[in-house]
Symmetry: C2
């Protein structure tokens, strides 16, 4: 222990990220400490994130002590660090929004979780890059222990985003077609697999690349029906490339710009385009005719907002979603994304790789 | 009569625009003739539209003979003539989609209409630029005779478009705000008046112009709460210009391009942008953030499609809409648009003015 409790409190590191819990009086002897990746200002992750030791609050009647097991570094975490994300933490903050932990102790009134359970935070802002946390039982959703650890660690954002987008906008029936760009992203891969499990066909747009056919085969092994490049789709309409499928009723767009326009132009009359990212950092161009005469609807999707709305209304919807996604993992219909596993103390490597937008997801093993 | 019946039939002018009605055998003596503005190919209206005499089919049990009284020349009619509209007639065709007529004779089974009633066609493609028509009673909606003739002639498209857009997308309550561009268009003016009748506030965007204040006053007399120019809104956000109103929940866009973007950017979180025109012939630019984090929905509206969908489902919805709009006209809450009245035989003048996008609507008096 390099720091005294009073210094920790003074520096606001004590009980960090756990401000809302009423603090029961604790003595030094009762305190649990954890290591956490902390930042105190926005900026480049390399300059701002430090590993620090911090004390945890006492376990309350409704709270849970969670030993973190694995937590990914996602692009949204980096945006939060940089201060460019729409929700930002108070400082000092612990990084990380997603991850899985094992319940090691529960308060006297907690019934939904037991020691030994695996659990994931349902909301963003948890601060998952830490060895341990005390939180309310209601902040967590239970996940089964018989799914892969890396699957559990990365279930909360990408697969759930894919799951919701395939369930909430169009009532999809087997044989219908969904088209998406950024098909090789983590969400894109989850879309392919969840759609396949529903009997829904997918047309998957990727950027042209040297190893295009290798990637195409990988996505087809996941269940993709068609994989085409933006360049192929640009010269022709989808009708000219693929006659085997009905026109897509749902388009998923995480790129924007020209690529988003290709998805839009491929939809059937009355179709819906859902935008959940803007990787190209270019606006989507929408011709009036697509809206008026093709009756296309454009909507956006942001899982964090969905979770918050639904947690308020009825938390069972969240648990049902996570359980459904876990079932797909258990049955092998949804595989965890390809991950690079990074020991917790080598976090700089994971941060840097994510800043550089390396394809594979980096997950901290804690 | 310059033409014989056989020639009329041969040239497909007989029963023009009335192909779907089973022809009862007629003799020359029984035939009614009418004059109509006919075109046989797409092109510039001046080159293609001719006044012709044509025979009408016999009155069937379910049909109605309608003496046309007044019919406007709308931009969509011109697009149809030019072949650029999404629904096009078979040739030879009678121009005009909107207008009011007086029922002069009804078939033995017709109960919804009586001689002396005023009626308007509910669907596009009627061919209203004619002196008389035989049609099914079900093709018409009754309008009361105690509204202005020019109001009745122009009720079918613009006021109904405004009415639907204010009723079908957001459940508007008094005090809520709607923002629109093209506020001086015929639909825009109807939006101002119908919104005012609902207690809904309007922010109305116009292009800057020399007589801007005169126009602003005219729109305010109709019930506009705020009138601002695109140029004013471009430098500032709506919040900076207008603090008195809640942020708009609904945006109506008939311009597209930059102007549509201004409407989009002015909406509240969760708001809806409805596009019903693209006068600027420029695509709408939609930032991903507006969809994802502001949860804006973009939709389109096309009255013709709405009418067809609803006619199939339940025609009472159409009659209810027309009756509601007529009630607003009767009470003076909705005034007919400023019209230039043109005698039927001087139709070239009305066509030319509409091609040149002159502000005032030209209406043929028949």
């Amino acid at each position: 222990m390099k720091r005294t409790i009073s210094r920790l409190i003074q520096e606001k590191v004590l009980f960090l990220g756990q401000r809302k819990y009423t603090q029961a009086p604790v003595t030094l002897r009762q305190l649990h400490f954890c290591s956490a990746l902390v930042y105190r200002q926005h900026g480049h992750p390399h300059d701002t994130v430090r590993i620090e030791e911090m004390a945890l609050p006492a376990l309350g009647k409704h709270s849970v002590r969670l030993k973190m097991l694995a937590a990914p570094v996602n692009p949204a975490d980096i945006n939060m660090l940089q201060g460019t994300y729409p929700i930002l933490p108070m400082f000092p903050a612990v990084g990380g929004n997603e991850g899985v932990g094992e319940v090691v102790e529960v308060g006297s009134e907690v019934t939904a979780l037991r020691p030994g359970d695996w659990a994931v935070p349902w909301d963003a802002g948890f601060g998952t890059w830490r060895t341990e946390a005390i939180c309310e039982a209601g902040d967590l959703l239970r996940v089964p222990r018989n799914i892969p650890l890396l699957g559990a660690a990365t279930i909360g954002v990408n697969p759930c985003t894919a799951y919701r987008m395939l369930h909430d906008f169009i009532s999809l029936r087997p044989g219908m077609t969904v088209i998406q760009n950024g098909a090789n992203s983590a969400v894109g891969q989850a879309v392919i697999q969840i759609a396949a499990s529903l009997g829904v066909k997918t047309v998957n747009i990727i950027r042209d690349r040297p190893n295009r056919h290798k990637l195409e085969n990988e996505l087809k092994l996941m269940g993709a029906d068609f994989v085409i490049t933006e360049e192929e789709l640009e010269g022709l309409t989808l009708d000219n490339i693929i006659q085997e499928l009905p026109k897509p009723v749902l388009g998923l767009n995480c790129v924007g710009g020209r690529s988003g326009g290709l998805v839009l132009a491929s939809l059937c009359d009355g179709g819906t385009l859902v935008t959940y990212g803007g990787m190209a950092k270019k606006t989507l161009q929408v011709p009036a005719k697509a809206l008026i005469f093709k009756n296309i609807t454009l909507q956006g999707f942001w899982l964090t907002q969905w979770k918050r709305n639904n947690h308020e209304a009825d938390v069972r919807g969240l648990q049902a979603m996570v359980s459904s996604v876990c079932d797909l993992m258990k049955s092998g219909q949804l595989r965890p994304p390809e991950c690079v596993q990074v020991p917790f103390h080598r976090y700089c490597q994971a941060l840097q790789a994510t800043v550089q937008s390396q394809r594979k997801k980096h997950v901290l093993l804690i």
